[in-house]
């Protein structure tokens, strides 16, 4: 039973509200740079919008979903009331205040630095402080997840930690550690300059610190989706989780190898040597292993549902699956997008192929397909699953839900496929407008128009999403059934310590970070003459 419904609802509603605003900004960006609109007279507005869109979608929205879902998982899977409720609310307030502070600063045009910061560009300190507050708020959540797990373990010695909580805590540790990179960059490099205490900054080192956060943050976004794959999907479609042990191994692998691979974002950078670039390219390849394991386990779990429903033959079980269930649609769409996005990711991680598409629209297409597509569609599904528990009212708009998921899937494909193509043609990212009258750029015009259409479809889908949620608050009051997570075909009775705790894996995670990042960071710290003059954004001060 959920005791802290208001807490979880507050997280979800603020998450989705910011998501709605950022989505509109994204659609506006696609429109103004397409041939449907004349050149933006004030391109600076475009970069305010990109900064807001990226900061919300990267730092605020997924963080709040992970936090809210995490609090719900704690109560639903452990069967105990959340410890540290006041701290949890304090965390929520920090995220809310931080988001508003950062967004107001960006809206005023004082911090058009994009969510990647990239010094020596420096914006108003209030933008960075806002981001810091968001991260500190989320760190409270990390601590609470750990504390709640230990409270449960003390009361249930030797018992297997329920899989949803195990995965949830793995995700929280991953975030706690991966956020350290950007935190170091902001606290020790950027803020002293933003406050005017220093006038120079090492931009190469800042990029290395940021890469520490930049890749594993994607796996943090991914965690709620993967938790839903393993612990909600099999039950919702009437199947069984194929393997509890493999699920734990996948989450452990994410925890250990998702982090020390961020230098693959710096393949084209001059300040990192080729040895560490190659090393991290190999580690990036390794991180596809837990995803390949997941795809197998979830397909097998869904196949069990198909067989139980009487499906026969190699493919017959697919036809009889409960396609009328929103969760079934969501996971199918999510897997298709994960497949395309993952294949693109293998190209990005390649030491050589990356040079063809590095920093082009291909990259924008890639992470929108993975995050905006495969992951966010599962956030919708999570909201639909939890809403009756949170509101105490039935969610009856099943047709609307199915339309919403279809539109999101179609919209994401229509937006991101042309982006991939434009990237191969060499179209750069983050441009307020393009000169489509240039014969060399003219063939790319149609791709931007197509992405604009995709963005409008996504907005339509979001409207339906909000309609479903709001209707959910007004539906018939019901006593929601006991919430159940998926059960495994062979539920574990006992587990080896390694699959039931995190000590060893956290040590490995930190150790690998030291191995993979220690030298590149130390090298730049001792290198002379790398501090360059800061460049202020947003006019005179």
């Amino acid at each position: 039973m959920l005791n802290n419904r208001r807490l979880v609802l507050a997280h979800f509603w603020f998450a989705f509200a910011t998501f709605g605003v950022a989505l509109l900004l994204g659609a506006w960006q696609m429109y103004v740079r397409s041939p449907l609109h004349a050149w933006l007279r004030q391109p600076e507005l475009y970069y305010r919008s990109v900064t807001a869109h990226g900061s919300v979608m990267g730092y605020v929205f997924p963080t709040l979903v992970a936090m809210g879902f995490g609090y719900a998982i704690t109560e639903l899977s452990l069967g105990q009331t959340l410890r540290g409720k006041r701290w949890a609310w304090a965390g929520w307030w920090l995220v809310v205040v931080g988001s508003l502070m950062a967004m107001v600063t960006v809206a005023l045009g004082s911090a058009s630095v994009l969510y990647t910061f990239y010094p020596p560009m420096i914006g108003s300190p209030f933008y960075y402080l806002g981001v810091v507050l968001v991260v500190v708020g989320s760190w409270i959540w990390v601590a609470l997840m750990s504390i709640n797990l230990h409270v449960w373990k003390r009361a249930n010695p030797g018992k297997p930690v329920p899989l949803p909580m195990f995965a949830n805590v793995a995700g929280s540790y991953l975030w706690g550690w991966t956020a350290v990179g950007a935190a170091l960059e902001i606290l020790f490099q950027i803020l002293p300059v933003a406050f005017g205490l220093k006038s120079t900054i090492d931009s190469g080192l800042a990029r290395v610190f940021f890469s520490w956060t930049l890749h594993a943050i994607v796996y943090f976004w991914l965690m709620p989706a993967y938790i839903a794959y393993y612990t909600l999907v099999p039950r919702a479609v009437g199947g069984r989780l194929y393997s509890d042990g493999m699920a734990r191994i996948s989450f452990i692998l994410f925890l250990v190898v998702a982090m020390p691979i961020g230098i693959h974002h710096l393949f084209a950078d001059p300040q990192v040597g080729s040895g560490f670039k190659f090393l991290q390219s190999v580690f990036t390849a390794l991180v596809s292993v837990p995803t390949l394991l997941t795809v197998f386990t979830i397909c097998a779990s869904v196949e069990i549902a198909g067989r139980l429903r009487g499906g026969r033959g190699a493919f017959g079980w697919l036809r009889v699956l409960p396609w009328h269930e929103p969760m079934m649609l969501a996971v199918a769409f999510s897997f298709v997008m994960l497949g395309f996005g993952g294949a693109g990711g293998l190209i990005n991680m390649s030491y050589q192929l990356d040079s063809t598409i590095h920093n082009t629209q291909w990259i924008t297409g890639h992470f929108h397909l993975i995050f905006g597509g495969a992951i966010v569609i599962m956030y919708f599904a999570i909201a639909y699953e939890l809403w009756p528990q949170l509101t105490g009212r039935a969610l009856s708009s099943v047709t609307l839900m199915k339309w919403q998921l279809w539109l999101w899937f179609i919209g994401m494909i229509v937006t991101t496929f042309p982006w991939h193509y434009a990237g191969i043609l060499g179209m750069p990212r983050r441009m307020a407008y393009f000169d489509f009258s240039n014969p060399a750029l003219a063939p790319e015009a149609i791709t931007v128009t197509m992405s604009t259409v995709g963005a409008l479809i996504l907005v339509a889908s979001a409207v339906l999403f909000f309609m479903v949620l709001v209707r959910g608050h007004r539906g018939a009051a019901v006593t929601p059934a006991q919430f159940e997570f998926a059960t495994a075909v062979h539920p574990p009775k006992t587990l080896p310590v390694a699959l039931n705790s995190f000590g060893l894996w956290l040590a490995l995670m930190i150790g690998l970070t030291v191995v993979n990042y220690g030298y590149p960071i130390a090298q730049l710290l001792v290198l002379k003459e790398t501090a360059v003059p800061a460049v202020w954004m947003g006019g005179q001060r």
Binding site: M121, S243, D269, V289, A432, L441
Partner: protein
């Protein structure tokens, strides 16, 4: 939905384990093959990203060293090789139009005078970050004479969208004729 396993499948645990172990082997094997391809192309084609960790002071670029204005552009070195030196700044490249000989191994040396910029030549694999304080060095070859666009691909401030340059690859003999009289070449000369 029944909670009991199907009759005859009561010992399914080891079946489950065997199938997923096989899949794990396939997954890891796939990754090993991909990494092997990366290693092979890296060594065989010596295809490597710019990675020299070479520093330079952006505040004195214009008064001393190899990036002074008169030294920018394309140069035929004493040993016959060709080097292209470029500076990126908000919101242009110098030179704004780069002239190179086709079918000749080239070395690019690029740095920034202010913020982080991007260096990409369309229809080629030339793609590098350009950062203040560091020199990006990369080698390439243009197969045939052609004109290419060269956008800055990293957000460098609110004029980023206007930061485009051009690359013109010309016939090698024609380039040699020009290089005989001019020390540093760009499209202007």
């Amino acid at each position: 939905m029944s909670n009991t396993p199907h009759p005859g499948h009561s010992d399914g645990a080891d079946v489950v384990e065997r199938i997923e172990r096989n899949w794990a082997i396939v997954a890891v094997g796939l990754i090993v093959v991909l990494v092997a391809m990366v290693v092979y192309t890296g060594l065989h084609w010596t295809m490597m990203p710019p990675s020299r960790v070479e520093t330079i002071d952006p505040t004195t670029l214009h008064v001393t060293g190899e990036f002074i204005e008169s030294n920018l552009g394309t140069a035929r070195e004493a040993d016959g090789s060709v080097t292209v030196r470029v500076v990126a700044q908000q919101y242009s490249f110098t030179p704004q139009c780069i002239l190179v000989p086709a079918g000749t191994p080239l070395t690019f040396r690029v740095t920034s005078a202010d913020v982080v910029h991007g260096f990409l030549v369309t229809d080629t694999n030339i793609n590098s970050m350009v950062e203040p304080g560091y020199i990006s060095t990369f080698k390439t070859k243009f197969d045939k004479p052609a004109e290419h666009l060269m956008p800055c691909h990293e957000y460098c401030g609110t004029g980023h969208e206007a930061m485009w340059a051009n690359v013109k690859a010309i016939d090698r003999a024609e380039f040699d004729k020009l290089a005989a009289t001019d020390r540093r070449l760009s499209c202007v000369k």
